[in-house]
């Protein structure tokens, strides 16, 4: 079922995964990618090799994916999404919000995360939110795989509901890690640049 969904997604979006100095493997990993379309997580998930995809869980917004029965079923059964609360209230710390993510990593899963936090127009990669930094601090040594999703903003842009079947492309770059004592803004910017630099990778 999952492999079939992934096949359909690859057929419709023409997506192919390209790995640059990075090997596909299952295990503790966070794929971080630019975000411009509702299709983003689907396409990244679909181009992973079957065994890797099996162990990879997208991080998604709880309010949206618990919105109705179909979404709930897709999120829990098909994609096994890790749901996060986008509006936890002021009294809740990052550790609490990110705990389900850290737990999933500790159980050996990989995560798909969009550190921009929201969809952009696809022309630029926006500044990353702090969550990625805190998550790396909670799970020391975790590999962060920069990923660039090309053309999805043209296939299904933000605010559109009809698709145009162009060819998309997914580029995975060399993994990076949070260094000892590396400061938050420096790490977030380094990760953002790693994603951005894959735009022209061939």
């Amino acid at each position: 079922m999952k492999n079939f969904v992934a096949f359909l997604v690859r057929l419709i979006t023409g997506a192919q995964g390209h790995w640059f100095d990075c090997q596909p493997r299952a295990g503790q990993r966070v794929y971080i990618a630019n975000h411009s379309s509702h299709l983003d997580f689907l396409v990244l998930w679909a181009v992973l090799p079957n065994t890797v995809r099996e162990a990879t869980r997208p991080v998604a917004a709880k309010d949206y994916w618990e919105g109705n029965a179909l979404r709930r079923w897709l999120a829990s059964k098909v994609f096994r999404a890790v749901l996060v609360d986008r509006n936890p209230g002021t009294m809740v710390g990052a550790d609490t919000v990110l705990r389900p993510l850290a737990d999933a990593l500790r159980q050996g899963s990989s995560l798909i995360l969009f550190p921009e936090g929201t969809r952009g127009t696809g022309t630029e990669v926006a500044a990353f939110k702090s969550g990625l930094y805190y998550l790396c601090r909670m799970t020391p040594g975790v590999e962060v795989v920069p990923t660039y999703l090309a053309n999805l903003n043209r296939i299904l842009p933000k605010g559109e509901f009809v698709m145009v079947p162009l060819l998309s492309r997914v580029s995975f770059g060399p993994p990076l890690r949070l260094e000892d004592g590396e400061r938050k803004p420096l790490f977030l910017e380094r990760a953002r640049k790693a994603v951005r630099s894959l735009e022209d990778a061939r």
Binding site: G14, Q16, T121, N151, N153, R154, P157, E160, V162, M163, V164, P165, L166, L167
Partner: protein, 312 residues
């Protein structure tokens, strides 16, 4: 084996078998790093040819409707590659939706309905006027004319021009009723043989480049040798067509020359966009557009020549 279509198909698969055997022998005998790579690439191309020939013959044997559906799919795949290479804006989204999901299906539906009058003008008249209107309505005027022109060009070349190939099936030629699929196959075979033999002659004898800046692999030797080989083979297939041998020779030459022109123009677009191939779906060949670039130019001219001189 009385039908010209079946005889043509038998010849095609016979040739493919012959090429496959030659490729196998070359793999065993050619030494050296460079030679091995050329032979491996050639064998990958031959393997892909089996698949392409299999799909095309399946469609032609499947009948009128299946053939039209196959060409509609080819158009959509080519258009997808073309538009992906074209830097369209957010404001073009709905216009693109129209050309993929409305204009292209209607164009092929018109062939199926045998409505030549509308088939010939749907894209050059109606879509031509509708597209800029739809893009203007979206409100983004940056590079308006450039964006509109590129999308219209993609629609013309990938859909309008390609659709002329299956449109051969609705030509009414005196004394040739029911054998039109053989005419379509004649066009495809000559255009593709021309590509193949230009490549082979170019690899073996090629020295003088025709257009070094546009397509470095095209040589005078390849063009002349490959073109004449393909034209000779086309002439020898006259029995499958409504033409006499010398008519078949002239029309084969026409297909060869238009095919060369198509290859050159589509290469110029690739160079401009800084890519080597339009895609990578056909192993060894690149994208769909890379395989049908010659057909885009040959099909409409071949169609209108045959229609002018032979059709009722």
């Amino acid at each position: 084996m009385n039908s010209p279509l079946l005889r043509l198909l038998a010849i095609i698969f016979g040739l493919l078998a012959l090429f496959t055997i030659i490729g196998f022998i070359l793999r065993l005998t050619v030494k050296g790093e460079g030679g091995r790579i050329v032979v491996a690439n050639m064998n990958a191309r031959i393997a892909a040819w089996w698949i392409m020939a299999g799909i095309m013959s399946g469609a032609l044997l499947g009948g009128f409707a299946v053939t039209i559906v196959l060409f509609a799919i080819i158009s959509l795949l080519a258009l997808r590659e073309f538009i992906t290479l074209t830097p369209t804006h957010r404001g073009d989204h709905r216009a693109l939706f129209w050309i993929f999901f409305v204009v292209t299906p209607i164009q092929y539906l018109l062939i199926w309905r045998d409505w030549y009058g509308m088939f010939a003008i749907l894209i050059p008249v109606y879509a031509f006027l509708f597209l800029p209107l739809r893009i203007a309505a979206a409100g983004d005027t940056t590079r308006f004319l450039e964006r509109t022109a590129k999308i219209q060009w993609g629609l013309m070349v990938c859909v309008y021009c390609v659709s002329y190939a299956p449109a051969l099936l609705i030509l009414h030629i005196r004394g040739y009723n029911g054998r039109e699929p053989a005419l379509l196959l004649f066009l495809l075979v000559v255009a593709q043989l021309s590509d193949v033999f230009q490549y082979v002659w170019g690899k073996v004898l090629g020295k003088h480049k025709v257009a070094p800046h546009v397509s470095p692999n095209k040589t005078v030797e390849g063009l002349v040798g490959g073109g004449l080989t393909a034209a000779a083979m086309g002439t020898s297939l006259y029995w499958a067509t409504p033409f006499s041998p010398w008519q078949a020779a002239l029309l084969s030459l026409l297909i060869v020359l238009m095919g060369f022109a198509g290859g050159l123009v589509m290469s110029a677009i690739k160079r401009d966009r800084g890519v080597k191939d339009y895609g990578s779906v056909i192993i060894g060949h690149g994208g769909v557009m890379d395989r049908i670039d010659s057909l885009c130019f040959a099909a409409p001219i071949f169609f209108h020549t045959v229609r002018w001189f032979w059709a009722q």
